[in-house]
């Protein structure tokens, strides 16, 4: 890849791997020119874990994860203050183009490129990276589609347009597309909100599979989803991070009254 890989932890069986943060946010404030959408948010997203961000609509969840790979700044009027670290390095000092190859993103609505086939959709990021070797591209496309649990469904129609797939398949295609460039972390912005429960279930299974090799951060409306897929959960309200901790704790013994009210359905 383009930047040096962080040291890999050789996790011998039985030893406890020290938890390290792939991404870390310190004192983040962000907005779109008007009132701030995020205020003093600090959060660690730990390596090879799923961190879920929950909270009511408009609480700033999406803005938060868009800050992590600097997709926030492509929107007009975007402002950002505070520190965001990828493996300890300030992302504001990185080229956003290189950062986004390290920290991929899957969006709320499936958005395969309409002018491209299934194969070309997955290969798009590789082509951007300058991979010209066709055999290597084909190999990585297959690997990514397998990782996204889509290979068996599409292996006979790789030349068909990506937009011809069902919604759930399109979203898995988008995940495969993001995986193809071998990112360090993958950000998912309510990836299942446009999908039916069966398609949602398949995506969740797939997340549990891919977190073995990379760090995941998922924004979700759906608290059951957070409980099912994540190790850690962060609860946000009105632009602030109220509480973050192990998912079990957040859902059973939250320390903040506001978290308890939200997860017991008293508001939101």
């Amino acid at each position: 890849m383009l930047t040096e890989k962080p040291p890999q932890h050789a996790a011998a069986p039985g030893t406890v791997v020290p938890e390290r943060a792939t991404l870390e946010v310190r004192g983040l404030a962000a907005g779109y020119g008007g009132p701030l959408v995020l205020r003093s948010v600090s959060l660690q997203i730990l390596e090879r874990q799923v961190t879920a961000i929950i909270g009511p609509s408009g609480c700033g969840k999406s803005t938060l994860i868009r800050c992590l790979n600097r997709m926030h700044e492509v929107l007009p009027g975007a402002t950002l203050e505070g520190e965001i670290l990828l493996d300890g390095r300030d992302v504001m000092g990185l080229d956003p183009v290189l950062l986004r190859r390290q920290v991929g993103m899957v969006f709320q609505r499936p958005n395969p490129f309409p002018s491209m086939s299934i194969f070309d959709n997955v290969a798009a990021g590789l082509v951007l990276n300058g991979v010209r070797d066709r055999a290597l591209v084909a190999e990585k496309v297959e690997g990514s589609l397998r990782a996204a649990a889509l290979w068996d469904e599409v292996k006979d129609k790789l030349k068909a347009p990506g937009v011809g797939l069902s919604g759930g398949q399109q979203q898995r295609l988008c995940i495969a597309r993001a995986l193809a460039v071998e990112p360090r972390a993958l950000l998912l912005d309510e990836p299942c909100s446009a999908l039916d429960p069966i398609a949602t279930g398949r995506i969740e299974e797939l997340l549990l599979e891919i977190k073995k090799t990379l760090t995941l951060c998922i924004v979700t409306h759906n608290m059951q989803q957070a409980a099912r897929v994540s190790e850690r959960t962060a609860f946000m309200l009105m632009g602030e991070l109220v509480e973050v901790g192990p998912t079990d704790t957040i859902f059973t013994k939250p320390s903040d009254k506001k978290t308890e009210d939200y997860i017991t359905g008293r508001f939101g």
Binding site: G104, F107, F113, R177
Partner: protein, 280 residues
């Protein structure tokens, strides 16, 4: 539809003499001599095709480039002001542009042409005397006339590219330029093609500005510097003084050919834009 049909019928009836006398060879015979009553439309078809083609060759890259700049790079306020000014350009009467052509463009072209001949004279395109008036000047003025169409329509279709697609490409680690090339332009391609065909339709039928700068000489020369003639120009220039029926019928026959070409081009433009709408 009915109007077009009546028009076509009228043009056909009133050009019957020409078709009877010359048949299809009217279209590819290159002699136009009202004194000897010999008529061939080829110099005019050639002049219209070359001046319009040249106009598109210049205006399409510039127009699409402007549209990309306005949509992707320019700050919103600047983009809106620029778009407004470009739309105003479309409202300039063609005779005014023609005047500008005579007073500004022709002297400039006349000054530049010797340089072109010196540098690129080995190409047949740039040989001959630097008259100032000619195909090159006509092409330049036409490109100026169609530029607003191309820019405005391309801007509209580029604005219609869904944000989610552009973000998907950016999130993969694409630069803004790569996003334009790989997402925006492919998505907008049918719309831009429609804009090009509309511009072509406009360029083919343009009469006044072209008449003022093309040189009005019915000849076919490979050189862009040489004067030429266009279909619309010859009708405008000679209709009032056509003394014989044959002359009149031949001019109307040219009109019929021009109408046919324009209809085909416009139908193609419609088809392209329809294609975009169905996909959107």
């Amino acid at each position: 539809m009915a109007v077009t049909a009546v028009l076509t019928w009228q043009l056909a009836v009133n050009s019957a003499l020409t078709w009877k006398q010359f048949g299809w060879s009217f279209l590819w015979s290159s002699t136009w001599d009202p004194v000897r009553e010999v008529y061939g439309a080829l110099p005019f078809i050639y002049g219209t095709a070359v001046s319009s083609g040249l106009a598109l060759l210049l205006a399409v890259p510039i127009g699409v480039g402007c549209a990309i700049f306005l949509v992707e790079l320019a700050p919103k306020r600047v983009a809106e002001i620029c778009a407004f000014i470009i739309e105003l350009l479309a409202a300039v009467p063609s005779v005014i542009l023609g005047l500008m052509g005579i007073f500004v463009l022709v002297p400039v072209v006349r000054a530049v042409e010797p340089g072109l001949t010196a540098g690129l004279g080995w190409l047949p395109l740039f040989q001959g005397e630097p008259y100032g008036v000619g195909m090159l000047t006509a092409g330049l003025i036409l490109s100026l006339m169609v530029l607003p169409y191309i820019t405005v329509i391309s801007r509209e279709v580029l604005l219609a590219v869904p944000r989610s697609l552009k973000e998907a490409m950016l999130a993969l680690g694409a630069t803004r330029w790569e996003t334009v090339m790989k997402v925006s332009l492919p998505y907008a391609r049918p719309g831009i093609a429609g804009a090009v065909f509309l511009a072509l339709g406009r360029a083919l039928g343009e009469t006044m500005a072209v008449t003022m700068v093309i040189g009005n000489t019915p000849q076919i020369k490979a050189s862009l510097l040489a004067p030429g003639y266009s279909m619309a120009s010859v009708i405008a220039n000679e209709l009032a003084e056509a003394s014989s029926d044959e002359h009149l019928h031949s001019l109307i026959a040219i009109g019929l050919v021009l109408l046919g070409i324009s209809l085909v081009v416009n139908a193609a433009a419609r088809a392209m834009i329809g294609l975009l709408e169905r996909r959107a």
